[in-house]
Symmetry: C2
Subunit: 445 residues, 2 copies
């Protein structure tokens, strides 16, 4: 490969990293360790989000701040890392600058790492988003929590049995790890937390449905793990419906090829796609909108630009794209940083090879399934303890680790979860779904 | 007094309480204790808010959920108390029903207790609210936190020194307890928390101003306490400006009779007024919009309707209205409940008499001033420990008490505060103030 760019010896190379998710943070940390770089981390928000626990925020178990850490704090002791808050609005690969916000601010780079993450995909039905929110950001989680809790409040005021039933039904679409964990947490929310707090309705009679188009949940896990997970979900009272293809979602209703379900809350956990800003790069995308990159994680026509994590299409040995999970992004971030150091030293960058340490999904607060390297399958208590340890270990800061342990401990001991605020009406207005029916009810009846 | 209403012996009396603040909760608890009532508690939100610590949410020290408790949880073990989520939209004193939401839902009452709280008053300048938010709800606190943190992020990107200075200036209007506590917490946020986290700006150089129209802060405290508080604030680096009357607030600017200050964030802690819904009652209001009630806390022309807390005008012995603080509301709630029981038993209700246990205000994390009954004045460490004990004791649930102790302990030990999320742009858009100026900045410089 011919290199027309001459290495400058007068200043350290400038690396701009966009996105402070698992991939972006890992790249920044590695560049810091390698030394000799001026790193700028740009993110739309001021915090790193620990997405694997986002479903617990959506179901009232944890606070948003307990699964997020201010990016500035993470790089407090890093003189060579600058953190900026702003949204990427353009990439100019000729001038080697990116545009930030609408303000005309530009950041110059010698190397660029894009790690923007993915987005929820509705398989060509963006109109479903209104009725079936996905779970990608803290704001998503807050909205889902608000809407689910509000439905119980409305049910308490509702006299029409059919409307009450609809208000007390939540349908989760998609039987992957997110869908399974979400359904399990919702089942426990209604059975253990809301039970006994209402006078007219019985929250424990609420229905939680998990709809999966395929023949089993957790389709990327071995079949035995799928069966165990489905059994555990049923034990918690989740109605697991397999082979159900969603054909239509509208206000308070889901239609599949087999039935129509009345559900006030529908949560979409079925599809992910590349980031909407991936197009800014002007590089080829795959069908899901992910950027196609070299095995070395940079672009075929621009070795200075790297893409990784959920927004990138990187194939595994069998040619299938790697899953959008944290370990993939972390390992890619590290490799991107090392490859930049290699390019800088005029050495050949290395291709990415994913070291799969296994995968796991939790079902409620006593059970999980885990697949370890070599296909070893764990389930029940042992897997749950493993899940606990892994998630605590990866939570970025100590303070949050302590808080999360406390909250989980309390939940485990049967204490009430109290992270369940319904915001003031001004904020809630946007998410309010159905009007109350009109009637007169006596107080205290 | 002639009583035309015959006591029913077939069913317990129905008491509807609107508002689950300190007053409403206290009334509900007392009615529960007295027995023989069917109580319905209606609130716009699903949580009781511990307002005295709201300023710590606004300055990133605590999570919203840590100072709020779901109302349902509080009455979990109370078979005679029903909790409903909804907004009061009308009171029909002839038919003895209140209207809820826009839905036509009506709640019938035998006795009605309105404890809606107050609102921020801009002394005839409602247009200032846009630039100088008040601090009444969790949503207010979240917005202030977001806007203050965002200003530092913008300052980091700003190259114009004057604009940077404006971005790094916060002006608190009003030297009452809220203003004093807010200013102290902001001073500590910038000195202890944000320091060292920015590369270009020095957050510790940020200006925190406290503007008070009168000649001293904490004007309801003895003069010595005011002086101590002002000294402590100055020690923290707050610029205390006394005798400053605000004449105009606009985008990023405050004008007083003496000067014009450029401040990106202006926080209004100057005035409170009655609740905007007080007019629904059709009862006489005082100049601040508070409902004028009998000394027994019910209306002159309707003994079945009680008003209390910040929305009611009750005079002390000297004829001045009582302050809008939690102990007043708590004691009034208790009396309203007892007076209802008295009316029910055809006995004469009692007038309200405030037992003042003293007042306190904290200044940063090591100091406070407290005035005990008999005019005993405490300040410094001792007062601060007292403040700590009182606030922890009144936090409604044990779980939150533990979490708040932890967070305060950590802050005290110099750990970083991490409850400082800036939301995703979609949510932030509404609160974003000024555009960035247009320029090009090199990365990592």
């Amino acid at each position: 490969m011919l290199r027309f760019w001459k290495k400058s010896t007068t200043r350290p190379s400038r690396v701009v990293i966009v996105g402070a998710g698992f991939g972006g943070l890992s790249a920044a940390r590695e560049l810091e360790k390698l030394g000799g770089f001026e790193v700028t981390v740009l993110d739309r928000t001021n915090h790193h989000l620990f997405q694997p626990l986002l479903y617990q925020v959506a179901t009232g178990g944890l606070n948003p701040s307990e699964i997020s850490s201010p990016i500035r704090s993470l790089f407090r002791e890093s003189p060579c890392v600058t953190v900026l808050l702003g949204a990427l609005t353009g990439v100019d690969r000729v001038r080697r600058v990116i545009q930030v916000d609408q303000s005309g601010l530009e950041l110059a780079y010698d190397y660029l790492i894009l790690a923007l993450g993915g987005q929820t995909s509705y398989f060509g039905h963006p109109e479903w988003e209104k009725w079936a929110p996905g779970l990608k950001t803290l704001e998503d989680a807050r909205k889902i929590r608000q809407k689910v809790l509000l439905a119980f409040e409305r049910a308490e005021l509702e006299s029409d049995p059919e409307a009450r039933r609809r208000l007390m039904t939540v349908a989760v679409i998609g039987g992957g790890p997110t869908g399974v964990e979400m359904a399990g947490a919702l089942a426990e929310l209604r059975t253990h937390v809301l039970r006994r707090e209402f006078k007219r309705i019985k929250p424990e009679e609420a229905r939680v449905l998990l709809l999966e188009a395929g023949s089993r949940v957790l389709s990327t896990f071995p079949e035995k793990a799928s069966d165990t997970a489905a059994d555990e979900l049923r034990r918690l009272g989740v109605e697991v419906l397999l082979g159900e293809t969603v054909e239509e979602i509208s206000c308070g209703s889901v239609r599949t090829q087999r039935r129509t379900l009345a559900a006030e809350n529908v949560i979409w956990a079925a599809g992910v796609a590349g980031h909407p800003l991936a197009g800014l790069l002007g590089a080829p995308l795959d069908r899901a909108g992910r950027v196609k990159v070299n095995p070395e994680l940079n672009l075929a026509d621009d070795e200075r630009v790297f893409c990784l994590g959920d927004m990138a299409h990187v194939a595994d040995k069998s040619g299938r794209p790697l899953p959008g999970v944290a370990p993939v992004a972390v390992q890619q971030g590290k490799l991107a940083a090392r490859n930049i150091a290699k390019l800088q030293a005029n050495r050949k960058p290395k291709p990415f090879s994913y070291f799969d340490k296994g995968s796991m999904a939790t079902i409620g607060r006593k059970s999980a399934v885990a697949v370890l390297p070599g296909g070893i399958l764990l389930s029940g208590w042992a897997a749950w303890l493993g899940w606990l340890a892994v998630h605590l270990a990866f939570l970025v800061d100590l303070q949050n680790r302590i808080l999360v342990i406390l909250r989980w401990g309390w939940a485990y001991l049967g204490w009430k979860w109290n992270v369940r605020l319904i915001a003031e009406p001004s904020e809630a207005a946007g998410t309010a779904g159905l009007p109350h029916s009109t009637r007169t009810a006596p107080a205290g009846s």
